[in-house]
């Protein structure tokens, strides 16, 4: 009887697995300067967007439950860099970053978060349901795991309609304990669907450390249950995510079926804005921030390679801040929905 050893996550050191950096190839080889700047801009936008949200909620200007992905920007950017409009993405309660990376405009997102009729969902969805069907963004989702079969269905559409598209489901380590994960991955592998399952292992599900509830160290091993390809990426290293997601998406487009890609990363902020965070050991977050931040890492890499100059990045930083200020100002001035909107959009014809 084969007794499998129980491996547990070594606390705080998810990324240390990659410290040798052997898996990171030269970014210059694959990405043009323009692409690098686009992706830096996306990551910066995600971070600044969410920092702004944090500020807005804490100062009482914004309501609702918001889950921030600060710290995990490289996953969203690295994966979505391979996607275009024919491709689909589904995400979770922590989905702002994936929206931005998929090309959803922050103006519509901000208006949505402010509950305005100009919001992407006319103010009816909010943070947990932001969607943009025009961009193939199948929505944030308030039900942990529910986005996984949605993306699987989108992949089925791509396959049956032969669009050449792929569908990506982003979800957390916690979601990999949901039945929906199991059922959907089995079906996707069985049908060789053009799908990519990206599990962002950020070490926590709400207030519970992943290792308290998941007896395996790597979520990626779960792919074997479905004879599915898998890979592990350093989720705080844009280039590593970019490379591994690229391989998986290419395979999916080539009809070789889906992949489970685990990205080891970390959630800087609380589970939601307002979370007192008393359950988290002090210092844990600082190590990630100081030693393995996605943005800092990207910046030093591209600077070290001499591709990009500091000034270029700082200009982007400023543009992002300006765009966000404008988005907030617009959103605050945009109209609120008419009460009748409450009754609309329940059914196709009313």
């Amino acid at each position: 009887m084969g007794c499998v050893k129980r491996l547990r996550t070594a606390p705080f050191v998810g990324w240390a697995l990659f410290s040798a950096a052997g898996s990171v190839n030269n970014p210059g080889m694959k990405l043009t300067k323009e692409q690098l700047l686009v992706n830096y801009r996306k990551m910066r936008m995600i971070r600044s967007f969410e920092e702004k949200l944090n500020e807005l909620v804490n100062s009482g200007r914004l309501g609702g439950f918001l889950h921030l992905s600060i710290g995990q920007e490289a996953v969203a950017a690295g994966v979505c860099a391979h996607l275009s409009e024919r491709d689909y993405v589904s995400t979770t309660h922590r989905g702002h970053g994936h929206c931005i990376a998929k090309g959803v405009r922050v103006k519509g997102m901000m208006a949505e978060l402010f509950g305005r009729s100009t919001g992407l969902c006319k103010g009816k969805g909010g943070s947990m349901h932001i969607a943009d069907m025009d961009q193939g963004m199948l929505g944030a989702n308030g039900i942990v795991g529910a986005g996984i079969p949605l993306a699987t269905g989108a992949a089925l559409t791509c396959k049956l309609k032969k669009t050449g598209g792929v569908a990506v489901a982003f979800f957390g380590d916690g979601a990999s304990n949901q039945g929906q994960f199991h059922e959907a991955l089995n079906m996707a592998s069985n049908w060789k669907l053009p799908a990519l399952y990206v599990v962002e292992n950020n070490g926590w599900g709400e207030f519970t450390p992943t290792e308290f509830v998941v007896p395996v160290r790597d979520i990626a091993v779960r792919a074997d249950s479905y004879a599915m390809r898998s890979a592990i990426a350093d989720g705080n290293d844009f280039f590593d995510v970019y490379e591994k997601a690229g391989e998986a998406i290419a395979a999916a487009r080539a009809g070789e079926g889906p992949t489970l890609l685990e990205c080891k990363t970390y959630r800087y902020m609380g589970h939601y804005v307002g979370d007192p965070l008393a359950y988290r050991p002090p210092g844990e977050v600082d190590r990630w921030k100081n030693e393995h931040d996605a943005l800092t890492g990207f910046e030093s890499r591209v600077k070290a390679d001499g591709v990009i100059e500091d000034m270029e990045l700082r200009r982007i930083d400023e543009e992002v801040v300006e765009e966000l200020s404008a988005a907030v100002a617009d959103a605050e001035n945009d109209p609120v929905p008419a009460v009748e909107a409450l009754y609309e959009d329940v059914y196709a014809k009313e």
Binding site: Y88, S90, G119, L120, C121, K122, G123, K124, G125, H129, A131, D132, M133, D134, L138, G139, N141, G142, I143, A146, I148, P149, L150, A151, T152, G153, A154, A155, L156, T157, C158, L160, K161, A167, G179, Q180, H182, E183, A184, N186, M187, N190, W191, E344, D345, V346, Y347, A348, K349
Partner: protein
């Protein structure tokens, strides 16, 4: 041209017509192709536990008739995702009892995506599912849980009472741009009625008068329409002229038709195979005592299953189900 065929075959016919007329229509479910080692000689596709989808895989190919693993949540969730992105899937949930393992894709996804996305999503999904008791299948394979789907805003739920309606309602469901739960009551699956070969639809949201009458309204749905008609015959012998209203659609509910009939008769009994709490029968009664208050000449009675699970023993199962006699007794109580 119409022929007499059983409901099960009428459903098969509707599926074939829908698939032939729209390449986006696909079937998904456990055993819908019916397994079988298709290459091997001498084997046939089973076409689902009731044989309803038999022949469709052979005709439309395995790309459009997809056997899934026993993974209802994954299957319905995938169907929702496919519907959201341009397909028009018809998913089979073998028995409505299995809602227990797959409610979320209906409750929190299919039903709500259009609304949550501000009207910018469309989920043209149909879920076919067998409902009801009467085959000694016991507590986990005999429920009439359509009250759960009918209660969820964003979903539609329809239930035919005969083969003709089954075909027309299913075609309407498949072509509807909203998620529709199509119930296939055990009690009528193998009953036959005249069904035209042609393509036709029965509008969702409209009830039908199955029998005109002036003394009392019997509201039925699915298999209870047959019971109500039998009860009406018995009552006629006593000089009571009952009108039988077949809801056809449980959500949206045809409130106008119910109120119009009540206005005419002043008395109403609603007959439902489901358990009594939080069901269609209560909704109908509540409508009567709200907007129909001025028409009411007597209490509104509900003939339903009792507030118990479905028992296995055939004797107890018969006692469990509504019947023409129970309806007659309820009408007599109206005085």
């Amino acid at each position: 041209m119409a022929r007499e065929i059983p409901t099960a075959l009428a459903i098969n016919e509707a599926l074939a017509i829908a698939m032939a007329s729209d390449p986006d229509v696909i079937l998904m479910g456990e055993d819908v192709a019916g397994g079988g080692r298709r290459e091997a000689e001498g084997t046939e596709e089973a076409g689902g536990i009731m044989g309803i989808t038999r022949g469709l895989m052979t005709r439309f190919g395995p790309q459009r008739v997809l056997d899934t693993p026993i993974s209802e949540m994954g299957l319905l969730g995938t169907a929702v995702g496919a519907a959201l992105t341009g397909m028009r899937p018809v998913a089979e949930l073998m028995f409505i009892d299995f809602l227990g393992v797959c409610l979320d894709p209906l409750l929190n996804q299919a039903a709500k995506l259009r609304y949550m996305f501000g009207g910018k999503a469309c989920v043209p999904l149909t879920v076919r599912t067998v409902t009801g008791a009467g085959m000694q299948s016991a507590a986990q394979h005999s429920q009439s849980l359509y009250w759960i789907t009918a209660g969820i805003p964003g979903l539609k739920t329809v239930i035919p009472s005969n083969a003709y309606d089954a075909k027309g309602l299913l075609l309407a469901a498949i072509r509807d741009d909203d998620p529709v739960i199509f119930c296939e009551p055990k009690g009528i699956l193998f009953d036959s009625s005249d069904v035209p070969e042609e393509d036709y639809v029965i509008p969702i949201g409209k009830a039908a008068i199955a029998r005109e009458g002036k003394d009392v309204t019997l509201v039925g749905m699915g298999a209870t329409v047959k019971m109500a008609l039998q009860a009406a015959d018995k009552l006629a012998a006593d000089g009571i002229d009952a009108e039988v209203l077949d809801l056809r659609s449980l959500a949206p509910l045809d409130e106008a038709a119910i109120l119009a009939s009540l206005e005419k008769t002043g008395r109403l009994v609603v007959v439902d195979e489901a358990t009594p709490r939080c069901g269609i029968a209560s909704d109908v009664a509540a409508l009567c005592v709200d907007r129909g208050f001025d028409f009411l000449d007597a209490p509104v009675k509900r003939v339903t299953a009792p507030h118990t699970p479905v028992p296995f023993s055939s004797l107890l199962e018969s006692a469990y189900m509504p019947s023409a006699d129970k309806i007659v007794a309820a009408v007599r109580k109206l005085g």
